[in-house]
Subunit: 176 residues, 2 copies
DNA sequence: ACCGTCATGTAATCGGTTACATGATTCT
DNA sequence: AGAATCATGTAACCGATTACATGACGGT
């Protein structure tokens, strides 16, 4: 039970386990794929190291199955819940870098219309995914924490803005 | 001159050096602070390792001062320019994760109004910074590559969207 | 009984961050 | 001349990605 620094990834894992507990790493992976994967990357291999780290730090309890797959079931400990609550109650004050490689390419002189073509496709697909998920949440609101719907709405708003921006840029001539 | 993978950071360094060459690492740091720092994090320590890596890979030429600070001056080599051009001409196809910890907190049930208060401050400050820089670019457009102005406009659009979104969320009751 | 996919991991590597350090200029 | 800040780096550490691997389960 050492005092390690917790990353955003740590809190995502804690937050997902809070909703699922008891949860296997695979359960976490599944829920992440449905919910937070759009907002935060979380490859499955990291879930194994991260849950182990968190259990080591005393924020998760681990219970291992005897037979079969010998899966590990995790739950929040009291201090795990306290850490999650503290994180949740603290506002975010570092300004975030929201940018993408496509904007960097733009800055360094790439052709806006060329970038826009692919960006529009990508963001349309992303927006469609969000809207589908939003419809599912709206159909069964009680299955999901309310905050998830709000986060999704932020995502939808951002995607729409990206589309407006790139559609405008699609009409620009090359910058150089 | 080994074949290493180039990261987005590598291309940012190449792109900045293209505009400055010959450039010392410190010059790169200064220009980054004025231009790309908003879109891509680039601590000065990484510039030293990254320029060394790029020089090692044959994408930058390095010339060292004899006296004084023994500064290293870098220029793009032909293959450096080719690598940068190739990157610039290739569209970005992986969908990007644009999200911030604040949206994750929202998803996991933090109070929207509490988060919004700080987010609004942060994004207002960021927007003001962008607009100030945009005014400077507009006053002396020839000093800057045209793409920089476009990238800045994307940033401005996104910040305005964030402000609209968070101002709306500021009126929400807590999600749990 | 076999096969594909589901599920569960381990280990090496590496980019990026953090901590530390010191010489060169400039200012008073 | 001394102090402050500018400029230039080195090195340890660590989270995250990538590559690899294998056992369990369900269907035919």
């Amino acid at each position: 039970m050492s005092t390690q620094r917790l990353t955003t990834t740590s809190y995502v894992v804690l937050g997902l386990i809070e909703q699922l507990q008891p949860a296997t790493t695979y359960d976490v992976k599944q829920l992440a794929a449905l919910s937070t994967a759009n907002f935060w990357a979380l490859p499955h291999t990291q879930l194994y190291t991260e849950t182990a780290r968190l259990a080591d730090a005393g924020l998760l309890s681990e219970e291992r199955e005897d037979g079969g797959r010998r899966r590990r079931f995790y739950r929040l400990t009291d201090s795990g819940r306290a850490a999650l609550d503290a994180w949740r109650e603290r506002p975010v004050d570092e300004p975030q870098r929201i940018f993408e490689p496509s904007v960097l390419k733009l800055a360094f002189g790439a052709d806006p219309a060329m970038l826009a073509e692919r960006q529009i496709e990508t963001h349309e697909r992303q927006l469609a995914g969000y809207e589908e998920l939003a419809a599912a949440l709206d159909a069964a609101p009680d299955d999901w924490p309310r905050g998830m719907r709000l986060a999704l709405q932020v995502g939808i708003d951002m995607e729409r803005q990206f589309l407006r921006t790139w559609r405008e840029l699609a009409r620009r001539p090359p910058a150089r």
